[in-house]
């Protein structure tokens, strides 16, 4: 009997070992699949264009150069777009998070007599979408088209974010608010002095969500402001490079022009492929640097809010 159990135990541990090994191999494959495209792009961005078109570049640059980045940063339009991207991200995040937090605070107050009404009117909009054309006409009526504020106002408050913050504030001990009220603090004081500082972890999460959404947005530029260079953003510039170079890629024109340029004695040249790689790195690096530090918070925030982001 004892022996059988020992044998069973042994077999189980062998099974376990096999399971664990297969699992680790799958996870390593996943890591490779997730990282390779970005690492390859990084290598292309740091390699000379003329060498890249020879093909076969994988994880490391063969002929190292900063030229692609210099080229990108020397273009006035890209610098201007970068500035707009930063501006819309900062403005949109500050205003959006502040507005969401304020709404969240009001509907976290049990005694607020409009709590139910406000909550329902907000939550309903998660499942309603008037559609592209009515929205477009509204923005035109409001004079938002051709303006920077079309990036900020229409998406000011995310209902999902409101719910996440609301759940967090409701979880704060009520006694804090009560004693503040005893000391004569009004709702604004309670919001600014108690709710906001204590909700900082969830504010950080929501800020990340909003900032990423703003930074990555290109469609509103395309629809509303595509003819105004001053209001273009990095993502939209990248999108234009992408659609131009896609056409060139398919016909092999990119390779030919680079080859021609290298033959005609120009020392360094850039292909759309290299510019695209450098721009991809430029627009992605800020976020990739930030999100791991907020991981602990957004995992929690996502779990509180429940709904899939």
């Amino acid at each position: 009997m004892n022996l059988i159990n020992r044998l069973k135990g042994k077999r189980r541990s062998v099974d376990d070992l096999i399971f664990d090994s297969i699992n680790i191999v799958i996870m390593l494959l996943l890591v490779v699949v997730m990282l390779y495209p970005m690492l390859n792009t990084l290598a292309i961005s740091l390699n000379t264009s003329t060498d890249t078109v020879r093909g076969g570049l994988r994880l490391l640059p063969r002929e190292f150069t900063w030229y692609n980045y210099q080229h990108v940063f020397n273009e006035a339009q890209i610098l201007r777009a970068g500035l707009t991207s930063v501006l819309r991200t900062v403005t949109g995040t500050i205003l959006g998070v502040f507005a969401s937090a304020m709404v969240a605070y009001t509907i976290s107050r049990q005694h607020f007599f409009l709590k139910k009404f406000v909550t329902i009117t907000f939550v309903m909009t998660m499942y309603m979408n008037a559609g592209l054309i009515p929205t477009y006409l509204l923005h035109r009526e409001l004079g938002l088209i051709g303006s920077f504020w079309v990036y900020i106002f229409p998406t000011l408050i995310g209902v999902f974010n409101v719910i996440v913050i609301r759940s967090f504030i409701e979880g704060l001990p009520e006694t804090l608010f009560e004693s503040a009220r005893m000391d004569g603090a009004g709702e604004f004081t309670q919001f600014f002095r108690i709710a906001l500082p204590l909700a900082l972890p969830v504010i950080a999460t929501v800020s990340l969500f909003v900032a990423v959404g703003q930074w990555n947005q290109w469609f509103d530029v395309f629809i509303y402001n595509s003819s105004i260079p001053e209001l273009s953003t990095l993502q939209y510039e990248l999108m234009k490079v992408l659609s131009n170079s896609n056409a060139a890629f398919n016909s092999g024109a990119g390779a030919e022009s680079a080859f021609a340029a290298s033959q005609s004695g120009v020392i360094e040249t850039v292909t759309p492929q290299s510019i695209r790689a450098a721009m991809t790195v430029v627009v992605s690096v800020p976020i990739i640097m930030v999100y791991p530090f907020l991981q602990k918070y957004f995992v929690k925030g996502l779990t509180i809010g429940g709904v899939k982001g």
């Binding site: 495209p37 329902i120 992605s284 982001g309």
Partner: protein
């Protein structure tokens, strides 16, 4: 801190909002209303600006749906345009292109839905089985990364990976001897749905696994210990404890996603579309964009958009009803 791990659903939101009010006495009537307004004017000040915002940006555009029943001319406005009843809808359903667009939309959203669920749940289960905590954390962090990239970036990465010359997919397939001619993936319509599905998984599998992983950690650990004593293998524990343990989360997310059945995504399709694969790539959103903005046929585009929202609502309610009948968790 009383953090509920199961997703808060819309019903719960509404139920929470309905929690009994403490005040006794007369609750109806204008008097009560004005008294409350005076008492809570600070809370009113904090919420009314945003209610106005909500009304203008979210509710007001719904009025634009009247365009779907008109032959809308921007110069004439809503009041002067001719009323045409359901003509726009009739035209849509007789339009060969619209039917193709519906096929593409449904196909891509069903593929994305199924692939998305299966891969995210699988990843969550496998992550949960990892014993090396440090390694697990690294894998998680890396798997979240693509979620933070824009679709513009992802579309660029996808089209480089699939390129005819030197694209990694073609290189691998050639070296493994699976094909002997590079394939022009983005030039063949039939591949498009699969490409979208795979890109979507790449971008969001890690992110979507977060909620399942959270649900798995809520499962009672004693169940696993008992199963281990009874001699259940790892796979048996996964199939008989882990998966049933997260069933209600899966059902709720499934219902919510069925509400988005005509939401097959827009950016991925738009950015990866080209004249060669367009017949398989064009979905409802692109159709609306093409008719609405490029061809300035506002009425037809609005009708198509309105159709989408209405169908989504019907699906949402139907899925909810079915889940209720089956005795599963439901949304509302």
């Amino acid at each position: 801190m009383g953090v509920p791990v199961r997703p808060l659903t819309v019903t719960e939101e509404i139920k929470k909002a309905k929690m009994p009010r403490r005040q006794k006495g007369p609750r109806k009537g204008l008097n009560y209303f004005f008294t409350k307004c005076r008492e809570q004017k600070e809370l009113l000040l904090m919420s009314i600006p945003f209610l106005l915002w909500l009304f203008v940006f979210k509710y007001l555009p719904l009025g634009g749906w009247v365009m779907a029943f008109q032959n809308f001319r921007p110069a004439r406005g809503f009041f002067e345009s001719d009323w045409v009843g359901f003509d726009q809808f009739k035209f849509l359903f007789q339009d060969q292109r619209f039917l193709e667009v519906m096929r593409n939309t449904l196909a891509m959203s069903i593929i994305n839905l199924i692939l998305g669920f299966v891969t995210a749940i699988t990843l969550a289960v496998l992550l949960n089985e990892l014993r090396q905590i440090g390694f697990k954390r690294i894998v998680q962090t890396i798997s979240y990364m693509p979620h933070f990239l824009s679709w513009v970036v992802v579309a660029g990465l996808v089209s480089s990976a699939l390129a005819m010359e030197d694209g990694i997919i073609n290189v691998l397939l050639l070296n493994l001897g699976i094909i002997d001619q590079p394939i022009m993936f983005l030039g063949v319509g039939q591949y498009f749905w699969g490409i979208i599905g795979a890109s979507d998984v790449w971008k969001s599998v890690g992110w979507n696994s977060i909620i399942y992983l959270a649900a798995i950690t809520m499962i009672d650990q004693e169940q696993y210990e008992a199963a281990e004593i009874d001699g259940a293998s790892r796979l048996q524990r996964i199939f008989y404890i882990t998966l049933p343990g997260i069933r209600s989360v899966v059902v709720i997310l499934m219902i919510m996603n069925i509400g988005y059945i005509l939401e097959s995504g827009f950016e991925a399709q738009y950015l990866l579309m080209n004249p060669l694969n367009m017949d398989y790539a064009e979905n409802l959103d692109i159709f609306v964009l093409r008719y609405g903005i490029s061809m300035a046929n506002f009425s037809l585009a609005t009708a198509a958009g309105m159709f989408k929202t209405v169908v989504s609502f019907i699906f949402l309610f139907a899925a909810n009803k079915i889940a209720q009948k089956l005795g599963e968790a439901r949304l509302f």
